[in-house]
Symmetry: D2
Subunit: 319 residues, 4 copies
């Protein structure tokens, strides 16, 4: 491999230009020819768009992190509404926050206040729970308790995903709730660590006999992965949602052909949340010929950009 | 507050000296008077030692991350053996790796090889699963399958923690297994995302009727937290183990009076794994008068140092 | 402070919506009401726009990191062309890469190649220098050497910033070079670690008597800070550019009233690059009443978005 | 490559055991057989020890970050005293803090205070400058000014390193100062961004004609690198010290055969401070056959451990 040869193979870095004609589509297309995380973000957009255009592809979406409190509920909602997600795996916390908003409660942010003036002891006295720079009033739990305690659960041994579908049905129609839109669009929600949530605590307190069947979910997920002719995965953060999707793909005939991860965790300490997608190739979870991109970015920045790009791309396609 | 006043209140930074008399105890004691993460690590050591010496304190330990593959199985084992952990919450992955070692399998590392010469596609062909710079041969799953398929599970609706105690009993005596020592020392293991693991997959494949009761675990954990006169928490990484411990403390009369976290995640993106312990005060999970320290460090570096310090401190105390 | 009071003071988190009317202005305005780094990015956009609209404000811009190789030369160029930067402080590396592009050379990226297939030993043999996922062919140095060796330096004891202005003049007119546009717009460039660069090495090899006066730069910078009725600062990365701007503000009557930082470094290890802007208040470098925002993001993602927002905001203002 | 073959090549991960016989030597030796950053730290210890034992090796040490305020002045001092460093490259800030301690001033830490109760505005009023969780009283500058204003600088055009040697000579004998021990042991100090420091500001204010020759340093450094039969490098943090050492090695016949980096920065955003040592192979700065280890750790944790290991190893060797 000589310098000459390499120069033939490599591509010139384009110096990005922002003009008054710049659109989300032109921006992302230009960034593909840049470097570092800008390029990775552009690749993630392109790969996700290909996943959508590939009719055979089943799109698994792993959602960790506190996205609803940070104002991303509607963004995730729209991913589902637009058909960009086929199977959702998430945390109990995200569902608890989603339920809170669906029931008419709200998360709060500092607005004009300097957050450094808010002391956590004072916040505790004011019954205001802090999630970095956003807040959830404690009274939200009362609303959730009211709602949960009135549910007539059809089968105490149903799977968690069946219960979540039942929950979605019970929610008011005109909402931007993730639970609701999943039920409406028949997108299954898996939540392997469901009992690790405020929602499950209320459920357990009010239904001493409940024993939602987590194993049924696990096997159903494996079946969904097994049946997928082609799989695509997108992970926001890592955690249980990432692992649960990947373990289902591990023993299936078809590993993921498209893979995207948005994370701020780093790979060197060896945890799955920061692990590269490339590592998943050794496990047979991601295919060695897959298109993949790991974007090191806060999801609150990357996700709206990706959604904007996808919506515009799909709109253009239809025209 | 004048410079004069502040200087009276603040303390001089000691310039650390390493001599031939340096011991783990003297090193940590000196680092308490340093800055940055060295100071935080020294505080974590001191706080953990106080937890141990405080007979009223129930010590909750949240263990995430791939510590067994990285060579930390025995370190965790010894925390339990020495009585430094009363209640363990961990991931299915850690238990799967622990079981593998208990059954006589081993994790591997590069030794003399330059790991950059190992390609993930080649690793996949060689059936060698990569976890950053360590490896688990795929055949481990066969051993786990053999073991699991022969288990006579007493009750398909038992709690996960009861099942894990049953599993510990079934393991050979002379092992450094976490499952085994927990059973021997009667330390309960909680694993809220149990079905997110290779161990649970094998269990589900071979026991179609199994429905381990995750809600029983959840409520038992709340009861343990409720009964604790004084609670202390130590988190390696974040994830489900951290949240599960904290949610149990949230609604209890006594929030944690001691709190330690070892993590490489960062707080700004708002995820729980990187959240500061101070934030947990607003939720009433950590007490406003608690002693706490968050150490930004790879657990494989910090944990052996903490164990070394604790063992020496306790040995000195007995003399 | 009761929950009631707090709820009056705090603001509702808006759930962001992406529609076909979404523009860069509407996106950023919505994100101000979100959380985490999305909110911080929106605040950074707003603060920068205010700096521009504040006619008294002198805008100091600290530029570290390898932004030119990553495709951001034109973006920085446009910040200067549009009048968004009054004083630039940067690294010798950025100027070396800028000069390379100005002389007609290019940086390269992988294009269709899987970068994991490129081995650093092979790259070395092919004389291709790697900067994460972009590349600079070694022959660039020959072009720089040709150019530098033909310069007639007017005064071997001139300041570094005078030399850089002289260098800008010597460059071809029609370029997107940072050196060129700074000379054209009379924006001074400071480069305190100039001798830490390929550019300076060539200069030193060919001009044994050169002794550019770094102290003149240092004092000139202090004078510029002293004279600023109002100062605003924006840091991409940290390093020497950040410290050099802040040390100039430390002993001046007016500390910064606006402050922005885009960085991926973290604060806990105590280095300046990851230090929060709030810490700079204790030093009197940033004013206690300043508007400030630290965005934890790769600059290659955040900077194009900020420029896009600023250009559109300024365009709307003129209409 | 089959699983069989790979298993022959790979090595078993040893499960680390801490006993009452554990010493710093046994701990590090065990961690070589672990994974993640524990292994990297053990490798760094081993590589540094080899560098010391290799009589041909010239040991370049790049020191960034605020190590003196964090209590690591004596640790760096001892690296020099023991002969573990041949050439030191550092920041003006480190030298300013070193000078402050050498003149009898001290850095401060919180001691019993909860640092969250200290507000940066209040600190500013109290003239107490914050560096994460340590503090430098503003009056230190007065002491430095007194000292600097009384210096009789022999040659205003001397190199920075000559000036720093002169400064070391002027300091009191019995001190743990880095400047002093370097002068005593004839270890040259390079400081390419010298004018980016409080020390240089005072120098410039009191010596309007000073023009320390930075180019002389640059060329001297290249000569030192050129003459090194074998080079070894160790970087704490990145920044200018890392780049300055590496640029000197780039055009020399012998690139580094040993390389260590301790950093908390990450590689993906493309900055040099987080760049892997492997990347430096493509530039010819690190040799393709070099032994190298990048440890992702706060230097305040890693550096004392490495010094402890090296001192004990060398002591054992002499016996």
């Amino acid at each position: 491999m000589s310098e000459k040869n390499l120069e033939d193979i490599l591509k010139r870095v384009d110096q990005l230009e922002i003009t008054k004609e710049t659109s989300i589509l032109s921006l992302i297309n230009s960034l593909k020819n840049a470097g570092f995380n800008a390029k990775r973000l552009a690749l993630a957009c392109e790969i996700y768009n290909e996943m959508i255009n590939d009719e055979e592809c089943i799109k698994f979406f792993g959602l960790a992190g506190a996205l609803v409190p940070a104002g991303m509920q509607r963004v995730v909602h729209d991913f589902i509404k637009e058909g960009f997600i086929d199977i959702l795996v998430t945390t109990g916390a995200n569902l608890t926050h989603d339920l809170a908003e669906a029931l008419g409660y709200h998360h709060l942010q500092g607005g004009a206040i300097n957050l450094n003036d808010l002391n956590d002891s004072d916040l505790h006295k004011a019954e205001m729970n802090r999630i970095y720079d956003v807040f959830m009033p404690n009274k939200v739990y009362e609303g959730i308790e009211d709602f949960i305690s009135n549910l007539k659960i059809p089968d105490p041994q149903m799977s968690v995903s069946s219960f979540l579908r039942f929950l979605g049905k019970a929610l008011p129609k005109d909402s931007q709730s993730i639970l609701k839109i999943c039920e409406q669009k028949e997108v299954p929600i898996f939540c392997p660590a469901f009992t690790d949530s405020g929602l499950a605590l209320q459920l357990g307190f009010h239904n001493q006999k409940i024993n939602l069947n987590h194993f049924k979910d696990m096997l159903e997920m494996v079946n969904l992965a097994w049946d997928a002719k082609k799989a695509g995965v997108c992970f926001l953060g890592g955690g249980v949602p990432k692992n649960f999707i990947l373990q289902s793909l591990q023993f299936c005939p078809n590993s993921a052909m498209y893979a995207i991860q948005i994370t701020m965790d780093r790979p060197e300490p060896g945890g799955l949340s920061g692990a590269t997608l490339r590592e998943a190739i050794s496990w047979g979870k991601v295919n060695e010929n897959a298109k993949y991109s790991t974007v090191i970015s806060d999801a609150t920045i990357a996700l709206p950009i990706i959604l904007w790009f996808l919506k515009e791309s799909q709109r253009k396609k239809k025209i």
